[in-house]
């Protein structure tokens, strides 16, 4: 049992950092192991200057308790990443430590992003959590309040976001297995998922044959890779979501966010919950209504999407 949440504001910015935090905190009982956010900010201009935000981790949280050697290793890894950025002609406009093991870069780069990302991830212990014009992906161990405070998410302005509270069932309790997943190397695409995928290995091997990389053994990562694969082939998000219902076996409800849209898909059994609220200026969804109530305490109309239902909303 995990909890997922998402919201999108139509045509305006809002404090999505605080809103997603409130929703995920209300879902804490569905999974206390880790919390993750994919929020789409308005602070980066995706226009002519080509600015990108890159979030990466250079160690696991649990590594920090394994002696002083990890600090030297982290310094080495960051040095290696900086060297790779320079090698690719990337201009680093801002660089900050969100935590001792997680960094946020603002970079300018006009070259091949997939090539850059692949090169950076060749560094042992380094994983890019997200890379894009608007997407900022944050995930760590602990509940939403803890992660939000550690990464200063309260006050994060943007149009939309998705989030996840995880109860680890298929893989370890670590950041690598936490949601959301970035749809590497596809710009600004992220996925959260609640459920179990039963043809995971079959689908994973097929994606690996097509050249996609997996960073974890978490079945949810497959959905990110699967989505990235189809988007890179020119398929629309809605078509990718619909196709997944036929090709992905198991019980699942998952949300996909892109630079300017938010989508959802539900399996053929409708075995995993999702509650929807939709108004003219906002759409909110979560595993439980109590999460929606945390940001919309007034009486509202909500409903459950049915089996095989797919929806996509634009910001």
């Amino acid at each position: 049992m995990c909890g997922i949440a998402g919201l999108i504001h139509r045509g305006r910015d809002s404090n999505v950092g605080a809103e997603i935090t409130a929703m995920l905190q209300a879902l804490k009982h569905r999974g206390p192991d880790s919390t993750g956010y994919a929020v789409y900010g308005s602070g980066i201009d995706p226009g002519a200057n080509g600015d990108l935000v890159m979030r990466l981790k250079v160690a696991e949280q649990e590594d920090m308790g394994r002696g002083r050697g990890i600090h030297a290793a982290i310094r080495d890894r960051i040095g290696t990443v900086d060297g790779i950025l320079a090698e690719h002609g990337v201009q680093v406009k801002d660089k900050e430590h969100a935590t001792p093991y997680a960094l946020r870069y603002v970079i300018t780069h006009t070259g091949d992003l997939a090539d850059l990302a692949t090169h950076i991830e060749e560094t042992e212990g380094v994983e890019i959590l997200s890379l894009g014009n608007g997407l900022e992906l944050i995930k760590d161990l602990g509940d939403a309040a803890t992660v939000s405070e550690a990464y200063s998410l309260d006050g994060f302005m943007g149009t939309h976001g998705i989030g996840h509270t995880r109860m680890a069932t298929e893989s370890d309790v670590d950041i690598r297995s936490a949601h959301p997943y970035w749809a590497f190397p596809y710009n600004d695409v992220s996925v959260v998922h609640n459920g179990q995928i039963t043809n995971y290995w079959l689908q994973r091997r097929e994606m690996e044959r097509k050249g996609h990389r997996f960073m974890s053994d978490c079945d949810s990562e497959l959905l990110a890779v699967y989505t990235a694969h189809h988007l890179s082939k020119g398929m629309t998000l809605e078509d990718s979501l619909r196709r997944s219902i036929d090709e992905i076996d198991g019980v699942f409800t998952y949300l996909v966010a892109t630079r300017d849209s938010l989508g959802m898909a539900k399996d053929t059994m409708a075995a995993k919950p999702l509650v929807l609220y939709e108004s003219d200026d906002m759409i909110a969804m979560a595993s439980e209504e109590v999460a929606i109530r945390s940001i919309l305490p007034q009486e509202i109309d909500t409903w459950d999407p049915y089996d095989e239902e797919v929806r996509v909303w634009q910001a």
């Binding site: 409708a270 509650v275 439980e288 209504e289 305490p297 909500t302 409903w303 049915y306 089996d307």
Partner: protein, 289 residues
């Protein structure tokens, strides 16, 4: 209550306790399930510990920052004081509110409930002026529950009696494993509604999702709209005049009677290919499977 106290019940074994409460046993023999009552027992309509509430004594409270447990204990406390009409304001989607009420009571929720709302009830009349999450009314034995908006999946799972009404649409697996009572849905239902239904009636005024009545043993499902597909061993049956009269009465009572009447409803029952399965010889089972 015929002199049987909670202390007495605690000292009894299961059979003695069942007899003290006016029940002998449930026997599943063939196609009919009987609940026999001990003829020597006095009439018992309430549990020994049921508070003596007065419907005319009304009170209300706001849930504020209370936990679900605190809300439920508050309701019990008010019942113990004799309040028979209780209005709960701002439930704000909390889970498991109003569960386990085993006596008569008018209970009104002004707002929406989360999961497992008013489950395991036996007797109260509940109105929810909002929406409910998954498994509303699960295992209810008697009483009425009316939901004014939509409901989540597994609405009325395993109910045994009473009327459970949702005026809006409900999610998937409505009335899964239901063993009696009536479920009425004003709108649509999702997939696998009536899955493993064993008794009772379900009325869906709108459309029904795929695999309707899958593996149902008995019971009846009425659908006013389109049926996406029938499940294993669910078949269409003739809508009788008695069915129409019952439908019209039930839907009228709940304000859900369509302008066109009930003549267009489709009646679904068990095909009974799976029915009585356990009484078959192994060689016969092979024929079915």
């Amino acid at each position: 209550m015929a002199g049987v106290t909670g202390m007495d019940l605690r000292d009894m074994n299961q059979d003695e306790r069942a007899r003290a409460l006016g029940m002998v046993s449930e026997q599943l023999t063939g196609r009919s399930m009987f609940v026999e009552f001990d003829e020597s027992a006095e009439e018992r309509f309430t549990y020994p510990w049921a508070p003596d509430v007065d419907y005319n004594r009304r009170t209300e409270f706001d849930t504020g920052e209370m936990s679900a447990t605190e809300v439920n204990l508050k309701i019990r406390g008010l019942m113990a004081e004799g309040y028979g009409t209780i209005v709960v304001r701002n439930p704000r989607g909390r889970h498991s509110l109003g569960v386990g009420i085993l006596s008569r009571l008018n209970l009104v929720f002004e707002g929406s409930l989360g999961y497992f709302g008013v489950g395991l009830i036996d007797g109260p009349n509940v109105r929810i002026n909002g929406r409910v999450g998954w498994s509303c009314g699960e295992n209810m034995m008697a009483g009425t529950v009316v939901v004014e908006k939509n409901a989540g999946s597994t609405f009325g799972a395993a109910i045994r009696g009473g009327d459970l009404v949702c005026k809006g649409s409900v999610g998937s697996r409505t009335g899964i494993d239901m063993k009696g009572g009536t479920i009425i849905v004003g709108g649509d239902t999702g997939a696998l509604s009536g899955f493993m239904m064993q008794r009772g009636r379900m009325v869906i005024c709108g459309d029904a999702g795929k695999n309707l009545g899958d593996s149902m043993y008995d019971g009846t499902i009425f659908v006013g709209g389109r049926i996406r597909s029938l499940g294993v061993d669910a078949v269409e049956a003739e809508l009788t005049e008695l069915d129409k009269a019952w439908l019209a009465r039930k839907l009228t009572v709940n304000g859900l009677l369509p302008e066109t009447g009930v003549g267009h409803f489709t009646k679904i029952v068990a095909g009974r290919q799976l029915w009585n399965y356990d009484n078959l010889e192994p060689t016969e089972k092979k024929l079915i499977l």
